[in-house]
Every structure is written in structure tokens, then in C-alpha cells.
């Protein structure tokens, strides 16, 4: 009888503990919510910061993992002739960063890799990025170098940038280039990538940048 009672009270205490754990998980649900977007069809299947070296717009070699160490990073692959997603996403990033206190903003670096090196010379890329923020890092490389960097960042979700010629006007090289539709984020300690889709709101991105900074 005594043994049975002890068993019952043990079971009861165990159930209580499980309930308490469950409730505490619930109340901290917001803080534990994933950063960015998960379950995206083209979600990168690699973890951690990619390691690649490309030239920045001043011609200096930029070692992505080393030169961003200790800071949160937002990494984007795009091109300046892109009228839709690239300016939309860069402006969302810019607006989100402007919402952060100065002390936090200084701990975030934005890196834009062009997938269109033929038209995006360092000067063109610099001029375009300056519209958003002169502090953004613009990187250029050969198609092979950019492809390798993209593969490192996205894993098998990366597909080599493809040119789509949409006009046969001989006086003007009109073509679009395929590029990832998402911004990748990394914490200062290199956790990530966190994925931000093109429809991420400014408020959500600002909140998640702060959470990336807290992750260390």
C-alpha cells in the first residue's frame, strides 16, 4: 500500500514537472520563435558563415568570414539592373537598420554580392549601394567566384545565376539575371543562416536583427 502511494505521488510530481516545463516553454514562446523564415522551399541546407574572398568596390580583398567576425551580417546576392526584388529588399534592410539604436546598427554589416559582374562594375555597384547606405559592402568577382560563394552560402539550394535575354535590341544589352530571392542573416558568432524572404516587413526584420545580435 505504502509503495503504491509512493508510486502515485511520484507519478503526480512527475506530471506536475512536465506541466511546469510545458507552461514555461509556452510563456517564452516569443523569444524562442525562429529568427526569419523557416520552411522556405529554397532554404539553404548549410550552416554557419560561408568562407569566401571577393574584391570589394574599392578593389580590396574582402574575406567574408574574417572581415565580418564579431558583427551580425546580412548577405544578399543580386544586381543593380534588377528593378523589383533587389531594391525592395535593400530598402527593407535599410529601413530596418534605421530603426535600430546607433549602438546596435554599428554591429551589423550589409554585404551585397553582384551576380552581374559584366554590368555591375565596382563603380556602378558603389553608386547603387550608396543610394541605400555608403557603409554597405559591395563585392564583385568572376561568374565562377560568385557561383562558388553562392554555393557555399546556400548549399544545394543555390543554382548558378542564369542570364535571361529579354530583348534582341542590339544597341542595349537587356537581360535579367537569376539570383536568390532571400536575404541571409548571420549572428556575430557566425550562427545562421537565418532566411529573410522578400516580403519580410521592416518591423519583423528590425526585431530579428536585434535577436541575431543577442545570439552572439
Amino acid at each position: 500500500m505504502g509503495a503504491l502511494n509512493r508510486t502515485r505521488s511520484t507519478v503526480f510530481l512527475f506530471a506536475l514537472a512536465v506541466l511546469a516545463l510545458y507552461l514555461s516553454a509556452c510563456s517564452s514562446g516569443q523569444a524562442d520563435a525562429p529568427i526569419g523564415h523557416t520552411g522556405h522551399e529554397g532554404h539553404p541546407d548549410v550552416t554557419g558563415k560561408p568562407s569566401f574572398v571577393l574584391a570589394d568596390t574599392s578593389g580590396r580583398a574582402f574575406d567574408f568570414s574574417r572581415d565580418t567576425a564579431g558583427r551580425a551580417v546580412l548577405l544578399y546576392f543580386g544586381y543593380t539592373s534588377c528593378p523589383d526584388l533587389c531594391p525592395t529588399e535593400m530598402s527593407t534592410v535599410t529601413a530596418a537598420l534605421r530603426q535600430l539604436p546607433e549602438s546596435k546598427r554599428g554591429r551589423v554589416v550589409v554585404v551585397f554580392v553582384t551576380v552581374d559582374p559584366e554590368r555591375d562594375t565596382p563603380a556602378v555597384l558603389r553608386e547603387w549601394l550608396d543610394i541605400f547606405d555608403p557603409g554597405y559592402v559591395g563585392l564583385v568577382g568572376s561568374p565562377g567566384q560568385v557561383d562558388a560563394a553562392g554555393r557555399m552560402a546556400f548549399g544545394s539550394a543555390w543554382l548558378p545565376p542564369q542570364r535571361f535575354v529579354y530583348s534582341d535590341d542590339p544597341t542595349w544589352t537587356r537581360y535579367a539575371v537569376s539570383h536568390p530571392s532571400v536575404v541571409l542573416g548571420y549572428s556575430p558568432g557566425g550562427q545562421g543562416p537565418f532566411v529573410f524572404t522578400h516580403d519580410t516587413s521592416v518591423a519583423d526584420l528590425a526585431r530579428d536583427i536585434l535577436r541575431m545580435l543577442e545570439k552572439g
Binding site: 528593378p83 523589383d84 547603387w128 530571392s181
Partner: protein, 153 residues
């Protein structure tokens, strides 16, 4: 003043005519066809090229198709679609975009947009440009499009 008696008569006739057309089988029978209206139009431009976004609603009973656009502000205007495949996206011209009957089509980032190329002059936030839309069935519609800042928060 000799004609003043005609005014109430005219009012009565108009009321009767209205009652007639509104009567019969219930709802008036609209002419079959699309009936388009444009709202929320906005342009964004960076370095000589831009995109125009808007909502096209069709209150009519037949669908219509946006088949092209032009603007005095740009040398070339094309209708484009951003297509997503896995992690990648690609912009492509589209020949026609359906605006379904009793429905709408929204041109927005990551979907359809009207691309402005060879802008005659750099567009600034607050400028207003004219964009004329061409449809398969409806007549052309010219819209005044304000230039907005990125992003539309």
C-alpha cells in the same frame, strides 16, 4: 418661365425610366464585359530604371488582360514577372496578365510589375508620372503614378 412646368415632368420621366430599367427580373443586366479600375499605383526608381506597382480591379462580368504599357517618362516600358524557383528568382517579360471577372490582379514586389527602362530623367520621391495601360478588351487607361520611397511600410 413658360417652360418651368417641364422640370417636374422631366424629373418624373427620369424616375419612371429608372424604375423601369431597375425593375423586371431584379438586378439590372450590365453589358457583358470587363470593367476595370486602378488603385494603389506607385512607382519606385533607382538609377535610370524603375518598377510600377498597382491594383487592377475588374467589376465586370468578363476577364481582361493587361497586354502592355507606355509612359512619357521612360524610353521602354515592359510588363514583367518575377518567377521564384527554389531559392532563386528570375525576372521575365510576360505577354499578358489576366484580370479576372469580378476579381483583381495585384502588381507587387516579387510578382508582376511594370518595368520602366531608359528613364528620361531620374525620378524623385514625390514626382508623379503618367503610365498608360493597354488591355486586350478594354480601352487604354492612363494612370497618374506617384513616385514613392522604398519600401512601402
Amino acid at each position: 418661365m413658360g417652360w418651368s412646368f417641364l422640370v417636374p415632368l422631366a424629373v418624373l420621366a427620369t424616375a419612371l425610366a429608372g424604375a423601369c430599367s431597375g425593375g423586371g427580373a431584379g438586378a439590372p443586366t450590365p453589358t457583358p464585359g470587363p470593367s476595370l479600375a486602378i488603385s494603389d499605383a506607385a512607382a519606385r526608381a533607382v538609377m535610370g530604371r524603375g518598377a510600377v506597382y498597382m491594383r487592377i480591379t475588374n467589376a465586370g462580368t468578363l476577364s481582361d488582360f493587361l497586354v502592355g504599357a507606355s509612359s512619357p517618362a521612360a524610353g521602354t516600358v515592359e510588363v514583367h514577372e518575377t518567377v521564384m524557383e527554389g531559392a532563386m528568382s528570375q525576372m521575365r517579360p510576360v505577354a499578358r496578365i489576366e484580370v479576372p471577372a469580378k476579381g483583381e490582379q495585384v502588381l507587387k514586389p516579387g510578382g508582376y510589375h511594370i518595368m520602366l527602362m531608359d528613364l528620361k530623367q531620374e525620378l524623385k520621391v514625390g514626382d508623379v508620372i503618367e503610365v498608360t495601360l493597354r488591355f486586350e478588351k478594354s480601352g487604354p487607361i492612363t494612370v497618374s503614378v506617384p513616385v514613392r520611397d522604398f519600401p512601402a511600410t
